[in-house]
């Protein structure tokens, strides 16, 4: 269990270093050096690949899953809404009540 978790995280961090984009960038760079006539966007992409979160999207499913937003799941006995959220919810409910929307 612990090993699986460690491996999953390790994979996440490896992807975090964006190795797929480096591979892509390197291949485009080599292609340009070898005289390939690429469209402007590809030339830019070759340089900017490391800046672009989308290019490695198909390759980082596990990473994206690991970052999927999730509601916090506090343990039993702890309110699922934090104090700030509770205060805002209370204000909203009061507003709805006074506006006849409650």
């Amino acid at each position: 269990m612990a090993r699986a978790r460690a491996e999953r995280l390790s994979y996440a961090y490896r992807v975090d270093r964006l190795w797929p984009t480096r591979v892509l960038r390197l291949s485009l760079y080599v292609a340009i050096r070898l005289g390939a006539r690429l469209p402007v966007w590809a030339n830019m992409a070759a340089w900017n690949a490391h800046r672009l979160p989308m290019l490695h999207r198909p390759l980082s499913v596990a990473y994206r899953r690991s970052l999927r937003p999730y509601p916090a799941q506090p343990p039993q006995g702890v309110d699922h809404a934090g104090p700030a959220q509770r205060r805002i919810q209370r204000r909203l409910e009061r507003l709805r009540l006074t506006a006849g929307l409650g």
Binding site: Y13, L52, R87, Q89, L92
Partner: protein, 972 residues
């Protein structure tokens, strides 16, 4: 110019790659070289794909606070209602940033629902700027500035008069706040259409009822949304009960007459005082309540935070008050003059002095010294009587009168014939005393941030006034009052009284100067102008407070559940009202097994949690099932008090600083993700780094443990914002590891260090030592001995030490080696050797579980400490030995040099011969009395250690900074 880059287009999977790529590229170019402009990036926090990577990119060119996330309501099935609500949240996030220019990724990624009443910035699409620079010949910023010049101007404010709701006590309620309000309301009418809300409208003074609409406070909640502005008046008394209850749900601007609202908080809380005090002021106030009682707790703590948390702003009457409010939280605060009460135009004129004296039955030639206002211990009545008696001991024609109600059993000595107290007087009698007096003395102590109306009255009446430089009174102009020290002596007061009594000319000049000051600076018009300016500034300020208020009103009609909307708003605009230092105690709170790091965590956390930090709230944090919780129960156990509130979600985000003090290597993956999410929302992560050994020397640890720990350390070091190490040596090691690429990181890192404390007491009294310890102590008494303290691990050098001692024993040296520490990992051979050694129990002693008192005795009995470890983060045993002046034989590694300040004997090699030679020399030098470090040295205690850590994390500049090498240029 403040430019907000809305980068939703980069996160949108439906947008073409080309557009997204160009938008991101332009954003990075603009942010990298802002040309004097301010750039903020706005991202959608609910779009997970690549969010983290995108943030990392932006963090290379923007500070963390300039990357802002907004969050859409997380409905299971998004529909039109969700989209509309999400657009409102996004628009409010922009409003909160108050940009001069909103730069959208593309023209069709605009915010669809922008309420007409909201201020809207100039908006441009990045796509419009996509012309290649060489085509236009201009840099992006030049193009932007050019476009903005031709863009439509911001919408003007509505021309109609603004409606203001006023909540606070009014005459005839017996409080100075009511009188001050009555005097300023006519002038405030110039700026607003005012409606007054009071508990009983029928009881309000007739002139006010004639001039203003007066409504019951019970109707306020229903009518509140119809007002443009809300003004609450708050003071530290039960008269302010209604405003204090209503302001939580209907934020506005709070006019503070006191900045210490402990009594009001106690009044509101009733039986729940402990919880209320904890909610208001956190652990220090709660501890104060538990240890010193209610009065001490509410005297020392202002309890402002919960009342001001969501308000648009606060108004106070003094610089002293501004500082008090700043210390209580991050609410914007303005200063305005306190309006005059009785000296204001339109008020009845004072009687001539002679007529007033006749009315009061006071002789014309008597020197009348008066103290105005309710008589409480805070007015120093005892000091005043003493000073008065000393000043006028030689003359019988003097009288001291306290004009005001007698409160709190603070009666001045009534046996003195020349001292009197009038009790509460009518306004007319008050004016008579103002007219009749020769000198006013207004002293204060234990200020609650109030500005004295009585001083204003005395000065307005032209009375020469003596005051002490305490609280707001210290800000009175020195030529308008006779200002004594903060805590004057009776002699100083007597001297001041004598000077004034003997010099009528001085009395007149001082009185006139005081009158000039208050009638100009504190005129009702000046006060009203100050109030109006502050109210407008508060509502115009770019802040989440105003935007949240607008957003909630706009979201109210939505059909989405309130909890989903509240979750989105709370995540987008977290309003804790105060910056928080959150100390991670995840592991020690889960299972305290007494490791060294857990001991450090407990000691540092205890001190940081129980000390007051102006402008900050310190709480403990623990990760549990993907949630970051405020660990109240654990802290209550640590501080040995009943738990004031259950553990609650921390909602960590912007304005919070998370101190990763506990051993992070065991943090579960989910907690790690929760930490990253907090960081994505703007929280800063500060890692306390104990050592880098799992990364630099994995061979010293079990393989799986080393791999996992090193992976977590690398992960944390890659994402935290600052690192504070437990020694300078570890900080330098980290810097070197970053420089060599051993630890990978994409953006700059600030590094600092502090030293651990040690409260190891050599005189600690404990239970009688165990048999093994007694045997060891007996051996140590007979022969020279070396003590090794620490778990038996591969890096600690036990094998080398044992081999060296074997050589020495074989050579005939009669010396003992005492090993104090349990068996660790990967040391089975060494431990077997230690346990079954022929010298065991004679010249070799292995004590697996020595208690603190055993350790103290062993330190005392030893000739010196042997520190043979190959690598350490700090080296606590060296510090403990140095504390009691025991000489140290240590391996020559930087961290040992650092913690002993060079005061030790050193050895280098890793073979038995070199250490045996060093031990021989050590004993010889000991016999000759030439060992360095034989004097007890002063060592940091935990208080000082916690203070060092706190200074480094919160105040001091970071001494080391690592930055990644500059990127190389583009290919071709």
């Amino acid at each position: 110019m403040h430019v907000v880059l809305d980068l939703q287009v980069v996160q949108d999977e439906a947008v073409s790659l080309d557009v997204a790529l160009r938008a991101l590229d332009l954003a990075l170019v603009l942010a990298e070289a802002p040309c004097g402009h301010r750039v903020t990036a706005l991202l959608n926090g609910t779009r997970p794909a690549g969010l983290h990577a995108l943030q990392q990119k932006l963090r290379r060119v923007l500070p963390p606070h300039a990357i802002v996330l907004w969050h859409a309501p997380a409905t299971p099935a998004p529909g039109p209602g969700t989209l509309a609500a999400a657009a409102l949240v996004r628009a409010a996030a922009v409003v909160a940033l108050a940009p001069d220019l909103l730069l959208l990724g593309s023209a069709d990624s605009g915010i669809t629902a922008w309420p007409t009443a909201w201020p809207s910035p100039v908006t441009l699409a990045m796509a419009d700027l996509f012309e290649p620079p060489e085509a236009s010949g201009k840099a992006p910023w030049e193009v932007l500035v050019g476009r903005i010049a031709g863009a439509p101007a911001r919408r003007a404010a509505p021309a109609r008069r603004l409606r203001l709701a006023h909540l606070g006590p009014l005459p005839p309620q017996p409080t100075g706040v009511a009188d001050a309000t009555a005097s300023v309301l006519p002038a405030l009418c110039r700026y607003y259409d005012i409606t007054l809300f009071v508990p009983e409208p029928d009881q309000v003074a007739a002139p006010l009822r004639a001039a203003f609409p007066v409504r019951p406070t019970t109707a306020f909640a229903r009518l509140a949304s119809g007002f443009d502005r809300i003004l609450y008046q708050l003071g530290n008394s039960p008269f302010h009960h209604d405003p204090a209850m209503l302001l939580v749900d209907h934020p506005g601007v709070v006019l503070l007459h006191d900045t210490m609202l402990g009594d009001l908080t106690a009044h509101l809380a009733g039986a729940e005082l402990g919880a209320a005090l904890f909610a208001a002021e956190g652990w220090p106030a709660y501890l104060c309540l538990a240890e010193h009682g209610l009065q001490a707790a509410i005297r020392a703590h202002g309890c402002l935070a919960p009342l001001l948390r969501e308000q648009m702003g606060a108004i106070v009457h003094s610089t002293f008050g501004v500082a008090q409010v700043h210390a209580a939280g991050d609410v914007p605060v303005w200063q305005a003059p306190l309006p005059l009460l009785y000296g204001a135009p339109g008020q009845p004129a004072l009687l001539p002095r002679r007529a007033a004296r006749t009315a009061l039955g006071i002789a014309a030639d008597e020197m009348l010294v008066v103290c105005f206002g309710a008589v409480t211990p805070a007015k120093c009545p005892g000091l005043l009587v003493e000073g008065f008696e000393r000043a006028f001991a030689a003359t019988g024609r003097a009288r001291l009168v306290f004009v005001g109600a007698l409160l709190d059993g603070s009666a001045p000595d009534s046996t003195r014939a020349r001292v009197g107290v009038t009790g509460r007087v009518t306004p007319e009698a008050w004016r008579h005393w103002l007219a009749a007096a020769d000198i006013a003395v207004q002293l204060r102590r234990n200020s609650r941030g109030e500005t004295s109306g009585a001083v204003m009255d005395a000065m307005a009446a032209g009375l020469p006034t003596i005051a002490n430089a305490h609280g707001a009174m210290a800000e009175l102009p020195p030529d308008a009052v006779l200002l004594l020290a903060d805590i004057p002596t009776p002699d100083e007061l007597a001297q001041a009284l004598r000077v004034l009594a003997e010099d009528a000319g001085l009395r007149h000049r001082l009185g006139e100067a005081g009158r000039r000051h208050v009638t100009t600076a504190h005129a009702s018009e000046a006060a009203a102008a100050g109030y109006a300016a502050a109210i407008e500034a508060a509502y115009a300020l770019p802040s989440g407070r105003v935007a949240a208020d607008m957003l909630l009103k706009a979201l109210a009609p939505s059909r989405l559940p309130a909890d989903l909307l509240a979750q989105a708003v709370a995540a987008t605009m977290p309003m804790h009202g105060i910056r928080r230092l959150l100390i991670d105690v995840s592991i020690v709170a889960r299972q305290d097994i007494g490791t060294g790091i857990q001991r450090v965590t407990r000691e540092i956390a205890r001190r940081l949690l129980s000390g007051r930090v102006p402008g900050w709230r310190v709480e403990a944090l623990r990760g549990d099932r993907r949630a970051l919780l405020l660990a109240r129960e654990w802290v209550a156990g640590l501080l040995r008090v009943p738990c004031p509130a259950p553990d609650d979600l921390a909602e960590a985000g912007a304005g919070d600083r998370i101190l990763l003090l506990d051993f992070p290597g065991m943090i579960e993956g989910d907690d790690m993700l929760a930490l990253r999410q907090a960081q994505a929302r703007g929280a800063e992560l500060v890692l306390v780094l104990y050592d880098l050994l799992p990364i630099l020397h994995p061979e010293w640890f079990p393989p799986l443990s080393a791999t996992v720990t090193a992976a977590y350390q690398r992960a944390l070091l890659g994402c935290v914002d600052q690192v504070i190490c437990i020694s300078r040596s570890v900080a330098l090691e980290l810097h070197a590891a970053l420089a060599s690429g051993e630890v990978q990181r994409a953006r700059a890192l600030e590094i600092g260090w502090f030293h651990l404390g040690s409260d190891f007491r050599s005189d600690v009294a404990g239970a009688a030592p165990a048999e093994a310890v007694r045997v060891a102590l007996a051996a140590m008494a007979r022969m020279p001995s070396l003590l090794m303290v620490g778990t038996v691990e591969p890096r600690k050098g036990h094998a080398q030490a044992l081999a060296a001692c074997e050589r020495l024993w074989a050579a005939g040296l009669d010396a003992a080696l005492v090993v104090a520490g349990n068996q660790g990992w990967m040391t089975e051979a060494v431990c077997d050797h230690l346990a079954s050694h022929p010298e065991a129990g004679r010249r070799l002693h292995w004590l697996r579980h020595p208690s603190d008192s055993d350790l103290a005795a062993l330190y005392q009995a030893s000739t010196g400490l042997l520190a043979a470890s190959l690598g350490e983060g700090f080296g606590l045993p060296l510090v403990e030995a140095a504390r009691i002046g025991k000489p140290i034989l240590a391996r020559d590694i930087p961290v040992f040099r650092e913690v002993t300040a060079g005061q030790a004997c050193w050895f280098a090699g890793e073979d038995a011969a070199s250490l045996a030679a060093a031990i021989g020399d050590f004993f010889l030098a000991g016999r000759a009395g030439t060992l360095p470090g034989s004097q007890a040295r002063r060592i940091l205690n935990w208080d000082e250690s916690a203070a060092q850590l706190f200074d480094q994390v919160m105040v001091a500049p970071w001494p080391l900074r690592w930055a990644p090498a500059a990127a190389s240029g583009p290919p071709g």
